[in-house]
Symmetry: C2
Subunit: 203 residues, 2 copies
């Protein structure tokens, strides 16, 4: 426990290797499958570099595939339980476009691409972000079974709930490739943090 | 739409007036009612200073009342839809204590105090933070009715769900004082942002 003074700000940063990746990225990724392949690759690199959990996300202009932001899970390195890949990517996109609403007037439609379904927090965060579509590699029980991560209390009909808010959901793009990253993560025995979620409830 | 380069980090900062408040804060706030009164006062000041929405939150050591962090809603000024008061306070506390888990081994129990119930995102974020209790001024429909803010898709039994994870919930501490802040906010005609939430669904 620190006895230091109050903290007035917090910063979430991408790891150095991802900053390098960004420089070699094509300006647009037109095919949805290629957007998913990209976030799966970054999730795997986040594991091999030891810079966070096995999750990555990107915000793209839906129509053109312009890559607005990429994020990875930064919970452990940035000491921030809300630094999930989705929150990082959405916040970086909003910072870059200087708007809290990626679906506001005069802004092209944006899509959030993630290598797995959102947890309870990110399910709640997506409607606030303004994105109009969500693309995920998978949403079954496999990720939790393989890694031990807890998705939290997400409603069973979460896809229908997002759709009812005008956010389309596409699931199952490159699911096996996404699972390979989780299997590699589990083999390495990396940190699994669930807070007061299932991990603690079982303890 | 910006054509600038990729952004590699984002920072959420407290407004200047709150940094000043922090310097004159007593080191501990032993009474729970005083903790709630403090966040209600800060929520009101966030409105009168025009530095964000009418919400504030604090993280306290449950037993001693030591104030670890205070946060206010920073969605509009920081262009970040997830910069709700709860996320700001929890992230600042985690940064100060240099841990992503406010309930980890060797850490005293922590309490999150907020001037209203959590939205869907913050409901999901609280279990990840490690806090062991939540104290709120109120949770009825009044806030949404008065301000137009949308809480999102929070389960009806959200309190029981937090309790099942070992997070106690105390509701109704200084509710009328909390509502006064929302009434003042509504009178001023300040920005209400709901993303793809109810506001957009009605539009």
């Amino acid at each position: 426990m620190s006895t230091s003074a109050h903290v007035n700000s917090f910063t979430i940063s991408l790891p150095g290797w991802l900053e390098t990746e960004l420089k070699s990225l094509p300006p647009a990724v037109p095919m949805v499958e290629d957007r998913v392949a990209l976030v799966i690759r970054l999730a795997g690199l986040n594991v091999t570099h030891g810079t966070g959990g096995p999750f990555a996300a990107g915000v793209f202009e839906t129509a053109t595939g312009r890559c607005v932001s990429l994020g990875v899970n930064r919970v452990v390195p940035d000491s921030c339980s809300s630094a999930h890949a989705e929150i990082v990517a959405l916040s970086l996109a909003q910072r870059r476009l200087r708007t809290y609403n990626l679906g506001g007037d005069g802004v092209p439609e944006h899509e959030l691409v993630v290598n797995w379904r959102p947890c309870a927090m990110c399910f709640g965060a997506i409607p606030w972000s303004g994105v109009r579509s969500l693309v995920i590699a998978g949403s079954g029980p496999e990720m939790e079974e393989i890694t031990g991560f807890d998705e939290g209390q997400v409603p069973g009909d979460w896809k229908a709930r997002l759709e009812s808010l005008g956010i389309s959901v596409r699931d199952g793009v490159m699911k096996e490739e996404a699972l390979d990253v989780f299997r590699d993560f589990a083999r390495r025995g990396c940190t699994v943090y669930n807070g007061r979620g299932a991990g603690s409830a079982r303890a």
